[in-house]
């Protein structure tokens, strides 16, 4: 059964939220609430209350990256210092801890930052192809709600969107 996308644009954020709550409550057949995507020009953390629990996992990447970076740095640096050419320098030990900790620290951060970014790209699904329906307005000042549902659900969507003063409703062409 083919699915269709529908994008509604709102001027007012509150209306958009209301639309979402209604979509959720309406329990439309052929529409999975998780397929609803909110698009906004700025971040709206408030919307989470209506969108439900969508977990963030970036911080685990950060933790892993930082630990790995630090650990790897220390091991690599220390074992590089302890190679065959290990030479005494200025009476300091071959594997001197303060310098190694400095490097560990730096690499801890670098690992953290890099893997965080990796995590961000993975979790946010970036880089991504553009979704089937997108309006440049969304990056300007309007709120967009993108839903995906069976042909049958389209009318229900439209009704809800119109009710909440959607400025525009775009439909996927063809198919």
């Amino acid at each position: 059964m083919s699915q269709r996308h529908l994008l509604a644009l709102f001027n007012d954020f509150d209306e958009a939220v209301a639309a979402i709550s209604e979509l959720r409550a309406a329990n439309i057949k052929g529409f999975d609430f998780d397929d609803l995507i909110l698009k906004s020009p700025i971040e709206h953390p408030e919307v989470e209350t209506v969108l439900g629990d969508r977990p963030i996992k970036v911080q685990w990447f950060t933790l892993a990256g930082a630990c790995m970076g630090g650990l790897l740095a220390f091991t690599l640096v220390a074992s590089a210092q302890a190679n065959f050419f290990s030479q005494i320098k200025a009476g300091k030990p071959i594997v001197p801890l303060p310098p190694d900790f400095v490097l560990t620290y730096e690499m801890f951060i670098l690992g953290g930052v890099f893997i965080t970014i990796l995590g961000f790209l993975i979790c946010a699904g970036l880089p991504a192809k553009r979704s089937p329906l997108y309006s440049a307005k969304v990056s300007e000042d309007q709120i967009g709600i993108l839903v995906k549902g069976d042909e049958a659900a389209v009318t229900a969507f439209k009704a809800i969107f119109t009710k909440h003063k959607a400025l525009e409703i775009q439909e996927e062409a063809g198919k």
Binding site: H44, I56, V58, K89, V102, E106
Partner: protein, 454 residues
């Protein structure tokens, strides 16, 4: 007192205003760009000459092995710190006034780091062997010396540069999407399309974006502090009198923030004028910035005094001799100029009427940076001239034109990068200004009665 950003400004207007700065440049832009290129040309010429002839043409000596290159290196590293400060710390503290100005501050961070990095290369006697410093498995089976503060520097700066580029870029993704949506042809379109990674402002993207941005900001603050304290360790770890001082790392960090803030003021004035950003880079923001600068100036002055007095009061006669030499010897004019520009001149910033006087601030901020540059030179020059070993003192060693040429050119290089950035990327964060406006509107809605000055 100028007006602050209007809460009722149309978001579309924000887009329009900022995107205008990306439009075809005017004549003045080209003039500046050409001047910058010419400056870089001078520096490249000097460097080629130095590379082929030998480091001797920069007129350093065996007792005076470092000079302006390292001083300017620290200067640029220092300059880079305020971008991070403004952006990361104020972001964590939810100080929303940072929003219109942090983007160019971060760009400044990145570009001054890129400038600083060049000085490391310019400074090397055997530039063509620079890869020896990199830790990579090689056919010689040897590694760099991880004990050396220079290697820490390399790690720290590489980390800082990559992290701040990432920070700058991540923070720019939503704006790049705006650019992508509004520019419809040419290489820019492709560029923005690629760089915006298909950003659509979905809730999932925003959610992860928020946490990522916050995390990197958290990382950047200790990183920035560590970078400049490691640069300070280049000196503090050594046994040179006048360098071997415990207060060097914080002193360097304070100095870095100070020169960075001063540079932000300078660029603020320039951008506000050139791109007509009066609407966003407002005077109240400037006032906050100036107050911040003043505070840091005083911290710096304090640390400077601490350094001097600990040398003076301590029992290391060698360091004391050197301090006296700095203040009375051939370097005295520069030393006192540094004190004047660094500690006396910023007192002007304490006066309310000067805090929004842009022409004055422009001039003062440039002088503050001159002072801060002198500070770095005063760390290098006189120390080498008057070290541990009296026989090798060397009071007559002044940098040659080659050195000045390269230092001069570095400003051109920075300007060049910055100018190009301003035309290619939005130098005011559109989505965050929108956020700022949105939150203020919300606040107004909720508590209409309170309407303070800021």
């Amino acid at each position: 007192m100028g007006k602050d950003i209007r809460e009722d400004i149309a978001w579309a207007q924000i887009n329009k205003d900022v995107l205008k700065s990306l439009e075809n440049p005017k004549k003045l832009y080209w003039v500046i760009l050409l001047i910058a290129i010419a400056m870089v040309g001078v520096a490249v010429g000097c460097e080629i000459y130095q590379y082929q002839t030998g480091m001797g043409v920069s007129n350093k000596s065996n007792s005076h092995v470092w000079s302006l290159y390292i001083a300017t290196f620290i200067f640029w590293i220092g300059m880079s710190h305020s971008g991070t400060l403004l952006s990361a710390i104020l972001h964590l503290m939810h100080a929303d006034w940072r929003k219109p100005i942090y983007r160019f501050a971060e760009a400044m961070t990145t570009f001054s780091l890129m400038t600083a990095g060049l000085f490391v290369l310019v400074h090397l006697g055997r530039l063509w062997m620079v890869y020896y410093v990199m830790p990579y498995p090689n056919e010689r089976w040897v590694w760099p010396n991880f004990q050396s503060p220079l290697v820490w520097d390399m790690f720290a700066i590489a980390t800082y540069l990559s992290s701040s580029v990432i920070f700058l870029y991540v923070g720019m993704i939503p704006d790049l999407a705006i650019c992508r949506d509004n520019i419809h042809a040419g290489w820019r379109k492709k560029l923005y399309t690629v760089l915006s990674l298909g950003w659509e402002g979905t809730d999932r993207q925003w959610r992860n974006f928020r946490i990522t941005y916050l995390t990197i900001a958290c990382f950047l603050i200790p990183l920035a502090v560590s970078v400049h304290s490691i640069v300070a360790s280049d000196f503090a770890m050594s046994n040179m009198p006048g360098w071997h001082v415990t207060s060097f790392p914080p002193y360097f960090v304070a100095g870095a923030l100070y020169s960075g803030c001063a540079a932000i003021i300078t660029l603020f004035v320039i951008l506000r004028y050139v791109f007509k950003f009066e609407e966003y880079m407002t005077l109240p923001i400037m006032r906050k910035l100036v107050r911040l600068t003043f505070a840091i100036a005083m911290v710096w002055t304090y640390l400077n005094l601490i350094e001097f007095s600990s040398v003076w009061y301590g029992h290391d006669q060698t360091a004391k001799d050197q301090l006296i030499f700095k203040a009375t010897g051939p370097y005295a004019p520069y030393f006192w100029a540094m004190i004047f520009f660094g500690s006396i001149l910023p007192l002007l910033l304490a006066f309310k009427r000067f805090q929004t006087h842009l022409p004055l601030l422009f001039v003062v901020s440039i002088f503050l940076n001159v002072g801060m540059w002198l500070e770095r030179w005063m760390i290098i020059g006189p120390s080498f001239a008057h070290g541990h070993y009296p026989w090798t003192w060397d009071h007559d060693q002044w940098p040659s034109l080659v050195q000045w040429g390269i230092v001069f050119g570095s400003f051109g290089w920075f300007t060049l990068l910055f100018m190009v950035f301003c035309k290619v990327f939005p130098s005011v964060s559109m989505y965050e200004v929108k956020e700022m406006v949105y939150h203020r509107t919300l606040a107004l809605k909720n508590k209409p009665a309170v309407k303070g000055e800021h």
